[in-house]
C-alpha cells in the first residue's frame, strides 16, 4: 500500500460525480504512476473531461478521495499551478495578453523574480515547445491552432509542475502537427520527468506516446494497461472502440 502511494502521482478512489440525477462517474478508481504517460479514452460525453476537471478541482465531487503526489487535495485550486499544468482543449490562452505574457503569467503570480529572468525563462519555455522568440509578442488571436496548443503547453509548463494534464492535445491538428506534438510531449516528459494525464481520441497518440491507456465506460475504468493489453480486452465497449472500422483500418496500417 505504501509502495503504491510512493509510485502514484494521482490516486483516485471511489470517485462519484453527478449532475442533478445523472451520475457521470460511478465509484471510479484510478492510479496514475509517476513518470508515465497515461491516455484516457472514453465515449464522447462519457465523463473523460469530467474526470479530468474533477481531479484538478474545477468540479466539486461527492465521493471519496483524490490524492495527488501523496497529498489529498481539497476543493481549492490555490497553489495548484505548482502541482500541475493544464493544457485545455481550446488552449484557453488569455486573449488580452501576448504570448510572452501568457507564459510569464504563472511565474509572475507565484514567484518573486526579476523581469529579466522572467523574460529569459519565457523564451526558454517557448523554444522548448518548438516556437521561436519572434512569436513571443504576438497575441493569441494571431496564432494558428498548432501554435496555440504549443503556447498553452509552454504556459502549462511554466512552473515545471510534476504533473501535466492534456485535454485532447492533438484535436484539430493536421496529422503532421499532431505527430510533432506527440513527439514534443514525449521529449518533454523525458526531459522534465513529467507525469502526463492525457485525454485523447487520437489512436495514433495512444499507440505511440502513451505508456498505459485507461478506458472509461459507464462511469468506471473498465480496462487499463499498455495499448497491447487493451486491444486484447473483452469488454464490449473497449472492443467496439479499438476494433471498429476506423480503428481497424489504422491498426492495419500500423502493423
Amino acid at each position: 500500500m505504501d509502495e503504491s502511494q510512493e509510485v502514484s502521482a494521482i490516486r483516485v478512489r471511489d470517485l462519484v460525480v453527478g449532475f442533478g440525477r445523472q451520475t457521470v462517474l460511478d465509484h471510479l478508481s484510478l492510479d496514475v504512476r509517476r513518470g508515465e504517460i497515461l491516455g484516457l479514452v472514453g465515449a464522447s460525453g462519457g465523463g473523460k473531461s469530467v474526470l479530468m476537471r474533477t481531479i484538478i478541482g474545477l468540479i466539486p465531487r461527492q465521493g471519496r478521495s483524490i490524492e495527488v503526489m501523496g497529498q489529498p487535495i481539497g476543493g481549492r485550486t490555490e497553489g495548484a499551478a505548482t502541482t500541475w499544468g493544464i493544457l485545455f482543449q481550446q488552449g484557453a490562452l488569455f486573449s488580452s495578453l501576448t504570448v510572452r505574457q501568457n507564459v510569464q503569467f504563472p511565474l509572475r503570480e507565484n514567484l518573486v523574480l526579476s523581469q529579466e529572468l522572467m523574460d529569459e525563462i519565457a523564451i526558454a519555455k517557448l523554444e522548448m515547445v518548438g516556437l521561436r522568440a519572434q512569436d513571443a509578442d504576438k497575441y493569441p488571436s494571431e496564432l494558428s491552432g498548432g501554435m496555440t496548443k504549443r503556447v498553452s503547453l509552454a504556459r502549462a509548463l511554466a512552473l515545471d509542475p510534476p504533473i501535466l494534464f492534456l485535454d485532447e492535445p492533438t484535436s484539430g491538428l493536421d496529422p503532421i502537427a499532431a505527430g510533432d506534438f506527440d513527439a514534443l510531449i514525449r521529449t518533454l516528459q523525458k526531459t522534465l520527468g513529467l507525469t502526463v494525464f492525457m485525454v485523447t481520441h487520437d489512436l495514433a497518440s495512444l499507440t505511440t506516446v502513451c505508456d498505459r491507456v485507461a478506458a472509461l465506460a459507464d462511469g468506471k475504468i473498465v480496462a487499463i494497461g499498455p495499448m497491447r493489453e487493451l486491444l486484447q480486452s473483452e469488454h464490449p465497449w473497449v472492443r467496439a472502440y479499438f476494433h471498429g472500422k476506423r480503428s481497424q483500418m489504422l491498426q492495419h496500417q500500423m502493423r
Partner: protein, 378 residues
Amino acid sequence: MNSEPLLLATPSGDVLKLRPEGPWTAANVSVLETLSRSVGADVDRSSAVTLDMSGVSALDTLGAWILEKLSRRAASSGRSAEFVGVADHFSGLMAEVRQVNRRTPTPATAPNPVLLRLGDLGKATVGAREDVTIFLQMLGALFVALIGVLRRPRSLRLTSLVYQLYRIGWQAIPIVVLITFLIGAIIAQQGFFHFRRFGAESYTVDMVGILVLRELGVLIVAIMVAGRSGSAYTAELGSMKMREEIDALSTMGLDPVHVLILPRVAALVIALPILAFIGAVAALYGGGLVAQFYGGMAPAIYIARLHEAISVTHFEVGILKAPFMALVIGIVACSEGLRVKGSAESLGRQTTTSVVKSIFLVIVLDGLFAIFFASIGM
C-alpha cells in the same frame, strides 16, 4: 538533502569551482537569483569556470537556466566553462537548456513619443473617416434590405422583429417609466424652488411641459436605450461574429443585414417613439405629483396650466426625433458589433465604443434638430 539551495565558490588558481547544492527549483527562485548574482564578479575574474553539479538534489528548467546563464557568462568572453558531475536524470534537461535563448532578439527600439502622438492623431483622423464610411455603408445596406422587404413583405423576419420589440420595448418600460418619472419630479421641484423667489411658480408647469415634451423625455429615453439595448446588440452581434455564426449565415446565402440587423434596427425605430411617449407621460405625472405635494398646486390647476402651456407642436417636435435617434443607435450598435475581432477584449472595447458613440451622436442629433425646428418655427 538540503532544503535551501547553496552555491559554493572555491577559487583554485585561475579556475573557479562552483558547486551548486540543494534544490535548484522555481520555488527558491529569489534565493537562486541572489546566489547567481553574488558569484557574478568572481566568474568574470577567473579564466575558467567549472560547475560541479553533483550536489544538486532537485533541478527544474528555471534552476538549470540560471546555472546555464552563469556558464554562458564565463563562455561569452572566450573563457572555458564546463559542467561536471551532472546526474543522469538531469542531463536531458541541461542539454535542453543549452539549446535555448541562443539567439538574442533585437531589442525593440523605443519610439519617439512625439511621433507616437502624431501617429495616434493621424490614425484617429483616418479612423474617423472610416467610422463615417461604415455608418453610411450600414445605412445603405439597411435601406437595400428594407426595399427587399417592401418588395416581398413575406421575407420580413417577423418572429425576430416581435422578439426584439419585446426585449427592447416591453421589457424596458419599467425602468424607462421610473427614470423619466424621477426626472420630471426633479425638474418640477427645482422649478418651484427657484421660481418661488420671483412669484412665478405657475410657470414651472410651462417649463416641465415644454422641456419634457420637446427635449428631455426623448433624450433621456434615447440615452437609456443606447445603454441598455445598443450595448446588448453590439455584444450579441460581436459574439456571433467571434463564433463565425455570421459567416455561417453568409455561406448559406443569407444576408446578415437582412436576417440579423434589419429586425433589430426596425424594432428600435418602432419601440423608441413608444418608449419616449410613455416616458413623457411618466415625467409629466412626476411633475404633477411634485406640484401637488411640494408646490401646493391642485391637480386640476396643474392640468389646466399644462393645457395652456403646451401644444401638439411640442409633442410632435419630441416624438419626431425619436425614430431618427433609434436609427442612429441601431446602426452604431450593429456596425460596432460587426467590427469585433477574435478576442474577448475586443468585444468589450467595441461595446464601450458603441455606447459612447451612440450617446454622443444622439446628443449631436438632438442639437441639429433643435436648430432645424427653430428655423422652421416649430
